[in-house]
Symmetry: C2
Subunit: 197 residues, 2 copies
């Protein structure tokens, strides 16, 4: 019953804002020098409209991120191997992490903005919860593997947006190098299987 469909101008403006913000985040050097006023202006919209549509700064960033992330999310939830379900963990985990890394390489500022937002902790954003749950389930699908919860966190931490930004941006580590490094790291973590002792 509550579902009233929004007015036409509202949806148009929402789209305009998303587009403008996307653009601004792509251009800017650092996420924090994209101000809400900037976004509103670039979208040809008042600040009131912007805040009405997205609640607050985080809302906007989350909406953007969500939109960008959707294809990847779909691939993981119901796509073909190696990303989709039905792939054995030892193959799927590296694939998912690699995809995540690539995503953050392709959406650096945005990912940075998202993780930097939320009061400083990425761990409250519900999308983190999803990735963590997925990874954890996969890790625990490896026979005899203990400590899946922490391992999932630690693996995700290896693809943190600011780390990616530091390596790819400041240190100029080439994309393929990073992917290879991550892949090897993951292999190490998973490769030992059940530890002796």
């Amino acid at each position: 019953m509550p579902e009233r469909k929004p007015r036409k101008d509202a949806t148009r403006n929402r789209a305009a804002v998303l587009a403008a913000a996307d653009d601004l985040y792509a251009r800017c050097a650092s996420p924090e020098d994209v101000t809400m006023a900037d976004v509103a202006a670039a979208a040809g919209v008042g600040k009131g409209t912007l805040f009405r549509a997205f609640g607050d700064r985080n809302g906007l960033i989350r909406a953007l991120y969500q939109a960008r992330l959707e294809p990847l999310g779909n691939s993981v939830e119901a796509g073909p191997p190696p990303l989709g379900p039905g792939t054995p963990p030892l193959e799927r985990i590296p694939a998912v992490l690699d995809a995540l890394l690539c995503f953050k390489l392709d959406n650096r500022r945005l990912a940075l903005a998202l993780e930097g937002a939320g009061g400083g902790s990425p761990y409250l954003a519900e999308h983190y919860e999803r990735w963590h749950a997925l990874l954890r389930a996969m890790v625990e699908g490896i026979p005899g593997f203990m400590g899946g919860d922490f391992t999932a966190h630690a693996l995700l931490a290896a693809t943190r947006a600011d780390l990616v930004e530091h390596l790819a941006g400041q240190e100029r580590v080439p994309r393929e190098q990073l992917r290879a490094d991550l892949a090897e790291f993951v292999r190490r973590v998973l490769g030992a299987g059940v530890l002796p002792g």
Copy 2:
């Protein structure tokens, strides 16, 4: 020649500010609701004094952190095994990471404040550079181990302050559990030694 010793009131005020800030950070729920004005007031000092002494917010946080971290830094640089030099990597790396984890458990808000500061990236703070270099050197001291640079980053990422805060604070994971989880993760990463293939 440049070394002019500071005035007495200056050093006294500096100490007062550090003490007050330490206290405030210990009490507060989240680092960002400790304002500079708060610190100044709690120290019984004007804002001008505070900024003169520490430059800016980051300066203050870094100074605090540095002070707290010093003992650990010393232990690592020139202490007895297993933290000090001269310990074989496979023993020293877990020890150092465990010490780091414990430090962040004992100084949660402070560590959080530090990593959240610096324009959003912990990777610019020079103390990160030091830990990374140390870890990297140790990792590369393991015969045949490749990708030490990234591995060092990834291991440090597993002890990120906000992750620690999330697990210990929100999720109420007990301290010993966390230490054990980290230890096992580290063992996994290092345990494989040289990978086949």
